[in-house]
């Protein structure tokens, strides 16, 4: 293999590029990114960058020297607009065509939007800097969507002295993701800090003065942030013949077609550990999957299934939330250590008869590690959890 192209110059793409070099690949390595910036990190965008605690440079994923050492054919500020599998070429927006022997797709996701003018979204450094400049004491910030992103922005908004309103269609924020009890516990933290939370409301549109609800009510705002989830960046693959359905569809090796791999937020792959296909929008997964895809591309004879325990963290006020595993569609949640009310606890998630996930707040690492281990080994609920909590009748 002499020519490898990585499309998407962020966490997953960078991890793939670095891994290729670390594994001894010394051919041409093209890294394409539509943002004009060198790879930077996104999680701080809704945290330290939005709060003004960190300057943008702090988000750089690598120093200029580290990047130079990778000896990349770096194409920044130019989007990939087409893929021809048969010819093994990627077409770029600047009119050039890049041939490849191996391709790694890492184009991530972009925010879902509402019919609106002037509403903020929060995905890029630019988005975050624009929003940051508009926040301050007394400013009315309305956030549509109380998922992790919306909740983090709400926390920062309060910290900056904004009046914050969180609008959420579900009855309990995050209940579908983490369960009702944990959702309620997180909600209480926001209420205590003075966030105005309104659940069960549907937003029709964003207007000049704020947000128009489905029943006609206007919720006034100076700034509106829409945080209602995201969509995989796969349009450039239309007509390529790759299977695309809520992400680039891959097998357990992260392969989408011969010598074409996908990684990070854009990849939907089969995770053998959970026996299901999934697409994970977590920072650690972007790096791990970028590495796995690169290794499998280079070592086609000795490929390894990518079967990680997904990991996610979120910072809200003084809480650090850490979640392991695959919580979606769980059947049961049980407190296995600590106490929800004290905001020091581990809860475990059951899917079928297995421990499928765990979520911790305020616990030391050692307490958490054992649960990660239980998920990684596919421990049964009966063995791992029942001894810890009295059986319910």
């Amino acid at each position: 293999m002499r020519r490898i192209v990585v499309v998407g110059a962020s966490a997953a793409g960078l991890a793939a590029a670095e891994t290729l070099r670390r594994e001894g690949y010394d051919g041409t390595l093209t890294l394409v990114g539509d943002e004009p910036l060198a790879p930077y990190d996104r999680p701080p965008l809704s945290k330290q960058l939005l709060s003004g605690e960190w300057r943008p440079e702090k988000l750089d994923l690598r120093t200029a020297d580290d990047l130079a050492a990778l000896d990349l054919d770096l194409r920044l500020g130019v989007a990939a607009i087409g893929l021809r599998l048969a010819e093994r070429t990627v077409r770029l927006a600047d009119g050039s065509t890049v041939p490849y022997d191996g391709l790694i797709i890492a184009t991530g996701v972009r925010p879902r939007r509402l019919p609106s003018e002037g509403a903020h979204v929060l995905r890029t450094l630019d988005d975050a800097l624009t929003l940051r400049d508009r926040l301050g004491p007394g400013r009315r910030l309305v956030i549509v969507g109380a998922g992790f992103l919306g909740a983090e922005a709400a926390a920062v908004g309060r910290q900056l002295g904004c009046e914050v309103t969180l609008l959420e269609p579900a009855p309990v924020p995050l209940a579908h993701a983490v369960g009702t009890d944990v959702g309620e516990m997180l909600t209480r933290a926001h209420l205590e800090r003075g966030v105005n939370l309104r659940c069960g409301v549907t937003v029709a549109a964003v207007t000049e003065d704020g947000v128009r609800l489905a029943d006609g009510e206007l919720v006034e705002a100076d700034e509106v942030l829409v945080a209602i989830g995201s969509m995989p960046n796969t349009e450039w693959l239309d007509g390529s013949g790759l299977s695309v359905g809520d992400g680039v569809v891959c097998d357990q090796y992260c392969e989408a077609a011969r010598n074409v791999y996908a990684a990070g937020d854009v990849a939907r792959w089969y995770n053998p550990l959970f026996g299901t296909s999934m697409r994970i929008e977590h920072r650690t997964n972007a790096a791990e999957q970028g590495m796995a895809a690169a290794r499998n591309l280079l070592n086609s004879e000795a490929r390894k299934p990518f079967s990680p325990v997904p990991y996610f963290w979120s910072d809200q006020y003084d809480m650090k939330i850490q979640a392991f595993g695959y919580l979606r569609g769980h059947d049961e949640v049980a407190v296995v250590e600590g106490d929800l009310a004290e905001r020091r606890f581990v809860v475990a998630y059951r899917t079928g008869d297995r421990v499928s996930g765990a979520l911790a707040v305020g616990m030391p690492p050692k307490a958490i590690r054992q649960w990660r281990q239980a998920i990684a080994t596919g421990a049964s609920w009966a063995e791992a959890v029942r001894p810890a909590v009295p059986a319910e009748s």
Partner: protein, 64 residues
């Protein structure tokens, strides 16, 4: 080689400990601690792996 840790960036994920237990540990808040600052060839691959998986880009390897 020397390992550098920017502790204020660390998000307490524990990924570094999973891949390089001889070099990293975590304090009670989960923030990474360096057990060794200078490492030999035997640990180099592990630390490179930790640099690669750290979700906060908080770890760096520098040549001395």
């Amino acid at each position: 080689m020397k390992v550098e840790l920017e502790a204020d960036k660390c998000v307490a994920s524990g990924q570094c400990v999973l891949v390089a237990m001889d070099v990293f540990d975590q304090d009670d808040d989960g923030i990474a601690i360096l057990l060794k600052q200078e490492i030999g060839d035997d640990l180099l691959d592990d630390v490179k792996e930790a640099v690669a998986v750290c979700p906060a880009a908080a770890i760096r390897l520098v040549e001395q």
